[in-house]
Subunit: 267 residues, 2 copies
């Protein structure tokens, strides 16, 4: 189970404010508390104007590295920003993200091929977001051809099957679980990742939907999660699900995470 802490993202209003005001302590604290909460990667996404994106990324990455050794996920829709931001990182992290749009995947894979960097890859292409499981798995096949071409081990790839909002669906999440299962069947060592909270857009009591979705997605094979690791109920749900799925003998990891205060401690 891989936790990608999502809180240092300019799309989140409080983080955007800290970025605008150059509030270094706020950013350092987000890196620290996410590490303590069990994050395996600290995602860093500036979400600012292009002209200042790279400077902002450098400022954020430097701050994170002042307080934690947890590797960084360099996160931008602009593949060139990710490539440049890699250079500010003290150790290999997570390239977030590529897709089959344009030449993104070639630019990214050429950079990470002979490194220990891992990479998030989204299942969209120049044709947009595929509507059916079959079409998404076709994009996956094309993507894996690129992974092979650059001699990247599948275990370094985190496939994001693209989680869409539940409220407009008539079939629940059957399409995305079919995609997840299809990916893991073909490449058992690959990771499947996603932003859990996308599922609950426009619904009330979103946390409940997010939690139930995380359980079902993990059951289908998702093993990498982009989320707020301070959300104790969600973190607890992931540890409980690992135990329920038989991946945690005698619940030792579940009990250990509870004792470390990762969940079940706050009201």
């Amino acid at each position: 189970m891989i936790i990608i802490g999502e809180k240092i993202n300019g799309a989140i209003p409080s983080t955007a404010k800290a970025i605008a005001e150059k509030d270094a302590d706020f950013i350092r604290n987000l890196a620290k508390i996410q590490t303590e909460a069990g994050a395996d990667y600290i995602d860093v996404c500036a979400s600012v104007e292009d002209s200042i994106e790279l400077d902002t990324m450098k400022w954020l990455i430097d701050l994170v590295q002042e307080v934690t050794d947890t590797p960084i996920a360099v996160d931008s829709p602009n593949v060139h920003t990710c490539v440049e931001a890699m250079k500010y990182c003290n150790k290999p992290g997570l390239f977030n993200s590529v897709s089959l749009e344009g030449d993104k995947v070639d630019i990214a894979f050429a950079e990470i091929a002979n490194t220990k960097w891992e990479c998030v890859a989204l299942l969209n292409s120049d044709k947009g977001i595929p509507k059916t499981a079959k079409d998404r798995l076709d994009v996956f096949i094309d993507l894996m051809a690129k992974v092979k071409e650059y001699h990247i081990d599948p275990s370094r790839i985190h496939i994001d099957p693209l989680i869409e909002m539940l409220c407009t669906s008539e079939e629940g999440i059957s399409m995305v679980t079919e995609v997840i299962r299809g990916i893991k069947e073909q490449y058992p060592t690959i990771h499947v990742t996603g932003a859990v909270s996308n599922i609950s857009f426009n619904l009330p009591a979103r946390k409940i939907v997010n939690q139930a979705f995380a359980v079902l997605a993990m059951n289908a094979g998702m093993d990498s999660f982009i989320l707020d690791p301070l959300n104790q109920d969600l973190m607890g749900m992931l540890f409980a699900t690992e135990a329920l799925l038989g991946e945690d003998d005698y619940c030792m990891e579940y009990i250990g995470a509870y004792r470390e205060g990762i969940f079940g401690q706050k009201k």
Copy 2:
């Protein structure tokens, strides 16, 4: 989704105290609040000495029927108590429970055969609780022979596959989900039920394990739940899971239950 409200049970200390003190208001309130929280059945289990069990059941059932029309689940390990308690009920309810131990199933099925009563049936026999999925499904086959013999429609049966504590398991819940799937494959209209909280005995943060289990059990086919309907997080998880599994178009039931205050309202 069928909710069997479990709170009127002498095994729960506060309920035991109310029974001992003949606190009628306490019992009536439990019936009322469970109905408001969405219970489809109000379970009534005395858990007292044999000599006063039937009188206690009558007292409890009368109190429940003073305040709600929700059908009653007559609950006792003694099949004769259940048979007698049926007579106190104003309308058909749920016989909880039978198993293949001794002549239980014949006594119970003879009583309910030509009625609208439904029945919980546990997958144990005179040989005890089967250890493997295959052995449990063998008990299920024997049980369904009895269901057929008494001309009871499978849709009136709630099979309890027997949920055991996770903490002593090395394989998680794979055995019980295999049993649930096997039951539903053979009889799509049958119900699968269980006491959700059994799963988390001896673990910390039990509510989290219960919630994750409920999601996975529903995913496998469980559609009847013996639980505390006042547990808003657990109720919310069931509604969210129905939506995620594609059984709730556009999340209308989820949103409706939220608006009715069944979940997401209390902190």
